[in-house]
Symmetry: C2
Subunit: 243 residues, 2 copies
């Protein structure tokens, strides 16, 4: 992990941009840390620069709650090399949604599986680097999307003890089989009228999770309309599992 | 409203049993009230005496949050006269559930509609009496079940400004038409594997509500397995609307 820039934000927050090999990322820690903190990995739909204001706000809530926070750019997003076929699959998804047609499983697979395949080992390598920082000691939570990435991470990364997942993107059927094997506590957020997602698919995925503790919170509105109190409820979910 | 007994509980809580005509009820207020409080009407499945420990716990949370609380016995429950046909309908429901058969709309109507027809005017009369107490001034919330009673109350009683509904019982189709006309903020709690309810029916009802602000929170477990944090989240819902 190479820190390429750092800033001190008000409220005692240190924001460091880093690269891990070719992957750009950002880690947020308090200015002063007495003992190593839990950390929340902040998932997002790709495009860290565009997402920065929302990511920084989520990170500062993590710090206020007593955790560090970190994120990395998704494969194929931002300045990272395009992923073969994903852009075409995304165009196919948009055409289907615009035409009001069902989104074929093949489009979902071509859009999501390459992301999962590449992003999950990248998150795990990032976690190794984060846990080597003196400020960070775990336990580890994952928060956000892409939800299929979160499902795979929840299954294969034993250091993640709780996940707050945003059901705001399509999920290939193959990932449902993995969801059935997930056992960590989950807090799943769903926007009831998400224009870029299928509500029934999200409900089926929630049903599929093997976790004994799982909560679905559905709120009104579209993809970007998550109300403020949903963030507060997710924050309390993590407080039960990371402290 | 005739107070028939009163007790001072620890924590500065005054618990008064009352009758309003033939209807028994209980109201909980703080020992000392500086200015009239909001009040939450505590719905339940019937059988106040059996439900007392849970009702008293919910009431004390209301007091801790700065509200008064009150409940009344459901028509046909506890020591109140049976309702024609409701016991037979309940037996029919139990037979269908035990046999794993679909619950017919006719059974649901015969079980629920008489309750709604009688309970809603009783709650409204109770509310008149509660608001005449010097300790209580509104605004008013409704919390709990029977959910069909809560839907009708949310529609017809303009003094109720927010409702936390427990989707733990069947709802006749006629009530869906009323749900579409409800516009107050709603917080709907669903137990994902409720043995005495139909999950899809509950999701359809949530979808039907006309409210611009509505939240569904679904948790794992059966009818009586609502986790503690679900109560905390509902409490924060009321804090946003009753304070």
């Amino acid at each position: 992990m190479h820190v390429i820039s750092e800033r001190r934000l008000d409220g005692g927050c240190l924001e460091r941009d880093f690269t891990l090999g070719e992957i750009p990322g950002t880690v947020w820690t308090p200015d002063h840390v007495d003992s190593p903190l839990p950390v929340i990995l902040l998932g997002h739909p790709g495009g860290m620069r565009r997402m920065y204001p929302r990511l920084a706000a989520r990170a500062r809530r993590c710090l206020a709650d007593g955790y560090a926070a970190a994120t990395i750019e998704l494969p194929g997003s931002g300045d990272r090399p395009r992923l073969d076929g994903v852009d075409q699959a995304r165009a196919g998804l948009r055409r289907a949604l615009a035409a009001g047609e069902p989104v074929g499983e093949e489009i979902v697979e071509r859009l999501i599986l390459p992301l999962v395949e590449q992003a999950v080992p990248e998150w795990r390598a990032t976690l190794n680097a984060l846990l080597a920082l003196p400020e960070i000691g775990g336990p580890v939570g994952f928060s956000g999307g892409v939800i299929a990435v979160g499902v795979r991470l929840a299954l294969v990364e034993p250091r993640i003890v709780a996940a707050g997942l945003f059901a705001g993107s399509y999920v290939p059927r193959a990932i449902f089989d993995e969801a059935r094997q997930v056992t960590i506590p989950l807090h799943v957020l769903l926007q009831w009228d998400d224009e870029g997602n299928d509500r029934q698919l999200a409900l089926d995925l929630f049903d599929a999770f093997g976790s004994a503790e799982k909560t679905l919170q559905a709120n009104m509105g579209g993809h970007t309309g998550v109300p403020a109190w949903a963030g507060e409820d997710a924050s309390r979910f993590f407080a039960r599992h990371l402290r």
